[in-house]
Amino acid sequence: MDNFLLQLLLFCTAAIIAVPLARKCGLSSVLGYLLAGVVIGPFGLSLMGDVESVMHFTEFGVVMMLFLIGLELKPSLLWRMRTPILGMGGMQVVGTALVIGLIGWFFVPWQTALVVGLTVSLSSTAIVLQTMREKGTMETSSGRAVFSILLFQDLAVIPILSILPLLALSSVPGRFSSGEAALLDISSLPTMWRVVATLGAIGSISVIGKYLARPIFRIIAATRVREIFIAVALAMVVGISLLMMVVGLSPALGAFLAGLVLADNEYRYELESDIDPFKGLLLGVFFISVGASLDFLFIGHHLLLIAALVVGLLLVKGLILYGVGFLFHTPREVRSYLAAALCQGGEFAFVLFEFSRSNGVLTDKVITPCISAVIISMFLAPLFFMLQERLTGRSGNEEQQREADAIKERGARVILSGFGKVGADVGRFLLSTGIRPVIVEPDAGHVATLRRFGFEVYYGDVGRLELLEAAGAAEAELLVVTDRDPEKARALIALAREHFPQLKIAASASDRSAVYDMMDIGVSALRRETFGGAVELGREVLVRLGFRRYEAYCLTRLFRHQAEAFLPKLYHAHRGQSTAEYQLLYRRHTSRIAALLQARGENNVGQNEKAWAASRGED
């Protein structure tokens, strides 16, 4: 336990120091983590315990990342991407494996060369996606192309695992097993049943995601115990991973599938913001352990060999990626982006090399230099992103702006926080005018009811930065704050102002003192939530008492305008003067309005209708 806590402290401290430093130098956080790993690793301060098991455990961050990506992706979009996924991805993997296999044939038997080629053809999903998210290039055409290829690589792991044993030089009594199917081993079943089990697993993910997830989330959310909701989210991702391992599929792929199924779930934002920190931490530690596993002693002894391997790997992969981009008629900057983003080896290489070792496909003599080369290439990956940006003089972000029209279509202009007594009517009104706000409501029970009435409402609390961001605060124009207690409302407004200064604020305040509180922080689009309804009710009372409707209307209008006009004075008195003075001013204000509304001139004509009832004297 002590040891675990010590390790945790170590990782956190390393990350806390290295990541801000890296960001300060304009490097990606991934590079910061990697460097932190080197520093605390066996060749640095030697503070880290069992690097390999840490790496193995934290690989789970990749699974979570793919789950999150699935959440953000619509199945229809994925279907449109089928050509780049199969075509570009397939060509890249097969091409890289063949070319590296051919080159390797000069030095080692062709089987060995081909296995190495297949293994290093896979790139680092973790590094690439993390870097692209950081740079905000996921939504660009370059980002999509990169993502397509990564997705294919994830799929390719499965057939590669089944081909490898066939390429073994010496037959070792190893059977097909990734060594991960801990709970249940279905590999002993006949082929047909294995297929059935696999399809069943995928099918159950779809069915659960589509029909069961919503009621489960609803029940859990209704308990209002936040950590239980997080627990459910985590349990779901972990459960899917285990299920996938049992049937011999990539857990990352399963998680991606689950994310995809849940993409149109109303608890999507909540899931996203719950899983995201775990993913971030796990990946961070994973990168640290990659940095720590660099074997400097070995590299020092075989400097030339390693250097040749790294350069060869980057060059071959880069050229093939550029060629694939060329064959698929992508624009020039997309080709160079592909080459820069995906030319490194990836974390799957660790798994595949380990698998090859245990199945007697490769020997340590081959594996050790290759793993070092892969790690170094991963190390260089963030640098290649920077290099590509420098050379093309175009960062992915600029490209994103070019595509922003399409994104804006999807992005809502308004975020509506709260769909309660005030928010519901504001929301219904906006929807009627054709403005579709992203509606986020913190009461789960309420969300369930609203959905039955056909409202697209998301459960969550935008008072949390991740959720505010997930709701699209970076692109939205306006945040409407309703149905919150004054303190939470002010906190939300402060949060929004700090992180999204472009976001305009409109707010409802529950009472007069809440109005003053809002005025303190300079909110000007402000309404006291009960005022409008109360005045309207007053108008009904007048009509029932026999006032003509138009007169009643004019009186409420006058009252409303007087109240609004006097608000700044009352506010300043409330803030700057004594309570007694404020009360005096309030009383004066009340009697002033009364005098105005009851003013009766000649012939008992009211102030507001003097114009309509001109008499002899005024003719």
Partner: protein
Amino acid sequence: MNKILLLLAHPAFGRSVANTALYSAVEGMEGVTCRDLYDLSPDFFIDVKKEQELLLAHDIIIQQYPLYWYSTPSLLKEWTDLVFEHGWAYGHDGHALRGKYFMQAITTGSEAESYTLGGQSSMPLVSYLAPQRATARLCGMHWLPPFVDAGVHYESRAVLAREGQRYRRLLEALQQCSQLLQLAEKYQIADGPVPEANALDRDLLKGELNG
């Protein structure tokens, strides 16, 4: 029998002695639909479809209002702007009002004499109804000269009541009249002088009770 739609527009009707006298004299008449616009649309929201259906269901449209600044109260202008839609009341396919009769019933504070050359208002009263005449023409309606109760500031209750009776009789005559078309043709926009206020009295009520 011609069906009459009477549209009253007075923002302070409760305090108007003259318009109350006129309106109460005709309210409830068989074949006359009375609508108090300021009471029906206090916030200026106008149900255009409903107003149009009512127009279609009647033959004679009378707008009753006090003359404010030589024009209509603002709601009546709003009403006209919205209800006389392009493609419905006018324009290529706008024939809904064609053949109907369009008339104003007006009260003025100052006396009839002020609406003469050299008077306070310097022009004949009916010349201020040019917009209404042109509107009728554009929509294919037949405009009829107005009922006018001028100088209501100076009228006694008895006079006002008599004006109410005159108003009622005029409406009855309009309902019964089978030769409205010939009557209207007399008052088409032409080069000559504008018709007199209350010209219909002569035509329909044979000059009796001219107030």
